[in-house]
Each structure stands twice: as structure tokens, then as C-alpha cells.
């Protein structure tokens, strides 16, 4: 894991001291709310419905146990004993007091964390594959590049006042666990026939009011030219982005307006001008790469007797393994996904005690490594199969052993109207109702992979556009209604979902999802996932079933 150096630490201390002074001036009345608001937002502090919300950056979703314990401690000390993991692999505290925030930032800084660039029209937290460094699928460790981009984009003066916020994702595996194609820039690590490493560069994806799947503007960018090319993209965006209209200010609108080909032409022309001087020197890349050196893996047999015995003896353990254990690049190891989607609980929430439990497990069994997924779960990327029975037992004791990764109850939900000042409708309770419908784990496994994503407003923090079933909360004359979309995907087969029909009232949504699932089970052929069946049949059988039921 990357460690901050003296300059990083001094910068954080300065920022924290500066914010303490700004908060003091606001409380004394020397700053108006209009003057203070942009300052607090630059430190990740929002005013929501019930309290202030502090969004803490978790760079590329990577944490060590000390950091996770600190987040637990902050949750216990300054919040109501929990935190909420987000679709940007960050963590939000929802019950923060303004006057406490400078102290919280100091505590975060003590473990090399902060809340800078978690808001505002700047480059936000970079999303990376949560299986980085653990999966055999990857060409390179994307954290190396994500960390280099974090350093490049942090407080970059040219990109601190972009037309709108800017989000980058990077993956080095063919299976996309980052939603790269719906980011402002998606980078996919590729290897050329001659062995050279580079990136496919995808630009102009996004969700929100106007969803787009990104366009590939370069099939292969040599890896050592990444930063000059990123600068060229951002300069073209900075030059032409629609600052006059926040609904049209994201890069996706510019790429769509110019056309991907013309946008690419302008980027290439700008790239010529930028030259190679801003590219990362090999020595610097090597320094960063050193921080992600391969973990110290033991040479182990591929099969673990302890693990096999537990599977045979305990059906619940076997179910957990079927759904939550993913293949590791080293024999005798596994990647363990920890679901934050216990049926009936709030998607993405973890109590302070649960965070401490995961930190303990990472320390004892997981090489001090914890990841956050954009699907609001946690990952222990390096666990010996021999240790899995103990890890499972500890997760079960912490109420973190839900065996539902990628299943129907593994739902993404934004905080929605229960917390968020922008929301039109609730998301969390809709997710809870749906999860309860599929509380029977046998039924959930029978349904198989099904990604439900819920947003409480058109800003799409819950990624509803790319849900296999997407649910968008809308306000109809002050009542909560929900528009359903089908067939979206945020993975390598990315697609924007198609509207099912008229919006449904709050109390009909879970039943409608149940009907959609039953229709899929009736229509599916062979091993088709929900998404495959939908793509084969189209919307008609689903629409007919849902609206026959509703009316």
C-alpha cells in the first residue's frame, strides 16, 4: 500500500489547520454561508437533511486496518456509530457536527486520509478494480496507475475548477468491476502484440440526467504517455465544457455534441502540444510501483483440507463460499467479498464494530489489505483457503456473512430521501423491501446474478441506469414514485437500461421486482442470467407481467 511522505503529511496538516480557521470564522459570523459553502464542500462537508455529511476519500477503494479502525472510531465518537460506503468507493458519515469537523480532519490526517476532492468540480476519487493485485485476470496492478493519477490530480491547479465534476476509473482485467464505461474517463489496461503495455481510453461515459456509454477514443495508448494524454483530454474539456449550464457541463455532453471522432481529433492535436514533458518518469513510476509490491504469498497446495472439510460439514459455509469467494492468482488463496447487504439492513452501511471486525480479520488473515467495491461491499483480497473457516466464523459473529454477492439482494442504493438534500424519494427502504422478498437464500441462488441499483433522484448516485433492474425515485406531486428500467449494465458489456413503463408508487415496487424475477425464471433458457434473458426477449414479456399485475 502507498504511504504518504513528509510533503503529503504537511499538506494535509496545512489544509486541516486552514479549515479549522475557516470554520471558526463561519461560526463567529465573519463568513457568510455563501462564502463558506464552497470552502466546506472542498473539504467534503455537505449539509444534508438531518446534519452535516462528511465524505471521506478512500483512494481507489484501498484501506489498511489502521485506517479502517480510525473510520470506526470516528463513527463511534462523532457519528451514530456507523458509516456508509458509497459507489465511489468512499465512506460517508451522515451525522456530523460542523464544529467537530476540524478535529475529525485531524484524526483522518493522522492515518493519511482526508476529504479533499470528494466534492466540487474537480477530479474525484479514482475507481479501481477491488480485486487489484489478487486476481489472475489482470495485466498489471491498476492501483499503481490509480495512485499515480491520485498524486497527479490532487490539488492540480489547472483542474481544480473544471466545468463539472470529473470521475476516472481504471481496470486491468477483462471482467470490469469498476463501471469504467460510465465514467468521464475509463482506462482499461491492454497489452499489445509486442508485449508493450498501454491503455484503451474511453471517454464521455456517465449517468445522471443524460446517461451515455463512453466512446473509445484511443484503442491503445502507450502506458508511458498516460499523463500527457489525460492532460490533453482535460484541456479540451476545460476549453469547451458548458460552464453556463450545469446540466450540460459534464464531458459526456461535450463528447456527444462534438462526436467522439472530432473530440478525439482535438485531444490528439492538444496532445501534440502538451508533449512528453508531463509524463511520469520511469523512476517515479518504479517508486510508486514499489509500494504495491506483491504480497508475501506462501507456496500452498491448491486444495485446502480444512476448507474442504468445512464445506462438506456446513451448508451455510458452503453457500458463503459459492457466492462470496472469488479465485485468487495464487494457489491456496482466495478473494473474500464481505457483503454489506444483510437482508433488512441499509446497503453499504457498516457499524463501527463491523469495521473493527474487518480490520482485525485483515490484520490476522488478510495481509493488512481491505478494499471497498463500487457496489458498496468490502473485500479481503488475500486470504489463505486454510484460514477461511475462521474468517467465515468471525464474519458470522459480526453479522457480515451474508452469502449474496451479485445476487438479487446485493442491491446498490444511494442514501436517498432519508438523508440526502437532493433526493426526491427514498432508496434505502425500497432496497430493504426488495431484499426481504428474496430473503430465502435458495430462491436468491436460483435467480442467480441480478444487479438491482436504486437512485433517489436523477443524479444517479445509485447507478440505476446500469442496473439489470434500475429503479429511479421521482417526485410526482409530492408523492414518491419509481421508474423502472431493465437491461442496464455497468460491466464490460455496459448498457443503459430501457424504461419499463409508467412509474410505480412506493408500495408497488418490491412486488413489481418480484414479478420481473418470476417472468425471467419463466422465460430463461439454459444458464441465462436475467440480463441475458432480457436481451433475448426484449422488454415485452416483463412489461406485460408487471402492468397486468399493477392495473
Amino acid at each position: 500500500m502507498y504511504r504518504y511522505d513528509t510533503i503529503d503529511r504537511e499538506m494535509l496538516a496545512d489544509r486541516s489547520a486552514e479549515f479549522r480557521e475557516q470554520v471558526g470564522r463561519r461560526l463567529a459570523g465573519d463568513l457568510t454561508e455563501d462564502q463558506f459553502k464552497p470552502l466546506r464542500l472542498m473539504n467534503g462537508l455537505y449539509l444534508q437533511l438531518h446534519a452535516y455529511m462528511l465524505r471521506v476519500a478512500i483512494p481507489y477503494g484501498s484501506l489498511n486496518p489502521t485506517q479502517l479502525r480510525k473510520l470506526a472510531w470516528i463513527g463511534r465518537t462523532y457519528d451514530k456509530g456507523y458509516g456508509h460506503f458509497t459507489t465511489r468507493q468512499n465512506l460517508q458519515f451522515h451525522w456530523i457536527k460542523l464544529a467537530d469537523t476540524p478535529d475529525i480532519l485531524d484524526h483522518l490526517a493522522s492515518v493519511d486520509m482526508h476529504a479533499i476532492q470528494t466534492s466540487g468540480n474537480c477530479i474525484r476519487n479514482i475507481t479501481a478494480d477491488p480485486y487489484a493485485g489478487a486476481t489472475s485476470e489482470e495485466i498489471d496492478d491498476p492501483r499503481v496507475w490509480a495512485e499515480a493519477m491520485r498524486q497527479w490530480s490532487s490539488l492540480h491547479p489547472e483542474f481544480s475548477f473544471l466545468p463539472r465534476k470529473f470521475k476516472i476509473a481504471i481496470t486491468a482485467a477483462p471482467k470490469d468491476r469498476t463501471a469504467a464505461k460510465v465514467h468521464d474517463i475509463g482506462l482499461v489496461v491492454r497489452r499489445a502484440r509486442d508485449g508493450q503495455m498501454g491503455f484503451e481510453v474511453i471517454v464521455g461515459g456517465g449517468m445522471g440526467r443524460t446517461p451515455y456509454i463512453g466512446s473509445t477514443i484511443r484503442e491503445f495508448l502507450p502506458a508511458n504517455r498516460l499523463f500527457s494524454y489525460l492532460e490533453a483530454i482535460l484541456r479540451v474539456y476545460n476549453r469547451h465544457g458548458r460552464r453556463d449550464n450545469s446540466y450540460k457541463a459534464r464531458i459526456k455532453i461535450l463528447v456527444a455534441a462534438l462526436g467522439a471522432e472530432e473530440f478525439a481529433r482535438q485531444v490528439e492535436a492538444e496532445w501534440e502540444k502538451v508533449g512528453a514533458s508531463v509524463d511520469l518518469p520511469d523512476t517515479e513510476l518504479a517508486r510508486i510501483r514499489g509500494a504495491f509490491a506483491a504480497a508475501d504469498f506462501d507456496v500452498l497446495p491448491a486444495v485446502s483440507e480444512a476448507h474442504e472439510r468445512a464445506k462438506a460439514a456446513d451448508a451455510a459455509y458452503a453457500r458463503f463460499i459459492r457466492n462470496n469467494l472469488k479465485p485468487h492468482k495464487k494457489p491456496g488463496y482466495g478473494i473474500v467479498e464481505i457483503s454489506l447487504k444483510t437482508v433488512g439492513e441499509t446497503p453499504g452501511d457498516a457499524s463501527a464494530a463491523q469495521m473493527d471486525a474487518v480490520a482485525d480479520l485483515a490484520e490476522r488473515y488478510g495481509q493488512d489489505d481491505i478494499r471497498v467495491t463500487h457496489e458498496q461491499n468490502l473485500v479481503l483480497p488475500h486470504v489463505r483457503l486454510d484460514d477461511l473457516p475462521e474468517v467465515y466464523a468471525a464474519l458470522k459473529a459480526a453479522e457480515l456473512a451474508s452469502a449474496n454477492i451479485n445476487l438479487v439482494s446485493d442491491i446498490i442504493a444511494c442514501p436517498g430521501l432519508d438523508y440526502c438534500a437532493l433526493a426526491n424519494a427514498r432508496s434505502i427502504s425500497v432496497a430493504q423491501h426488495i431484499a426481504q422478498k428474496f430473503a430465502d437464500p435458495d430462491r436468491a441462488e436460483k435467480v442467480g446474478e441480478l444487479k438491482i441499483k436504486i437512485s433517489g433522484c436523477i443524479n444517479a448516485c445509485g447507478h440505476h441506469h446500469v442496473g439489470h433492474i434500475g429503479i429511479l425515485g421521482v417526485d410526482k406531486k409530492g408523492e414518491e414514485f419509481y421508474q423502472l428500467t431493465l437491461g442496464g449494465s455497468g460491466a464490460e458489456d455496459a448498457a443503459v437500461g430501457q424504461a419499463l413503463g409508467p412509474a410505480l408508487p412506493y408500495d408497488k415496487v418490491a412486488d413489481a421486482v418480484d414479478t420481473l424475477v418470476e417472468t425471467y425464471l419463466r422465460e430463461r433458457q439454459g444458464a441465462e442470467r436475467f440480463l441475458d434473458t432480457f436481451r433475448r426477449t426484449g422488454v415485452a414479456p416483463f412489461k406485460e407481467a408487471v402492468y397486468a399485475d399493477v392495473h
Partner: protein, 119 residues
Amino acid sequence: MKALTANRLTDGEVVFWRQGQWVERFAEADLFADDDPAGEAAEGHAKNQPKVVVEPYLIDLVESEGLWAPLSYRERIRALGPTNLNHGKQTEGGAAIAALKHAHGASRSTGRVDLIKRK
């Protein structure tokens, strides 16, 4: 009827206007008839308290179980706390909280309309 609400500057707590002060319980809020100029006058006073509250605004009310409750769902959530956890003001319980929980009625929150305008 209307009430005046805001978020308290120091901690973001939802507060309501009562005789020139801010209280945390909706049940204690001053109520203004729709045509009573005292409501807008209170809002004017509140806007001159930037060291105390953020973004004060009047909300519409509806009758519920013989008591008054905010008309919009958003404002009922602000007055109670989130629906996913028993957090916030609702933890206190009692008849006033029950009336808020049982209230019906729908409209866009005035606060939300202001929010849209500000964007």
C-alpha cells in the same frame, strides 16, 4: 397552516421557530395561519440570523390525528429522522411523533423548490 424551519449552523440539526428562538421539536413550533403575515415576518427575522441557522424557510402543514404535521414527505422525514433506522428526533416517541408518522398528504417541500431554484 405553516411553520418555519431551518438547519442549525453548528451541527446541522433540524430546528423550528418558536417565539424568536429555535427549538428541535416540531411539536413545539409556532404555527402561522396561511394568511398570517407573522410567518413571513418570522422568516425575515430568521434570515438575519446567519450565525445561528442555515437556509430558513416556511413549510406547509396538514392535520394529522388532531395535531399538525408537515405536508411534504421530505419535511416529515426532517421532523422525524430517517425511515431506515430509529435515529434522529423520532427516538423520543410519544403522541406528537406518532402523529407525524401517521400523517398523510403530499406536496413538494418549499425547501426543495428553493433548492431547485438555487441550482
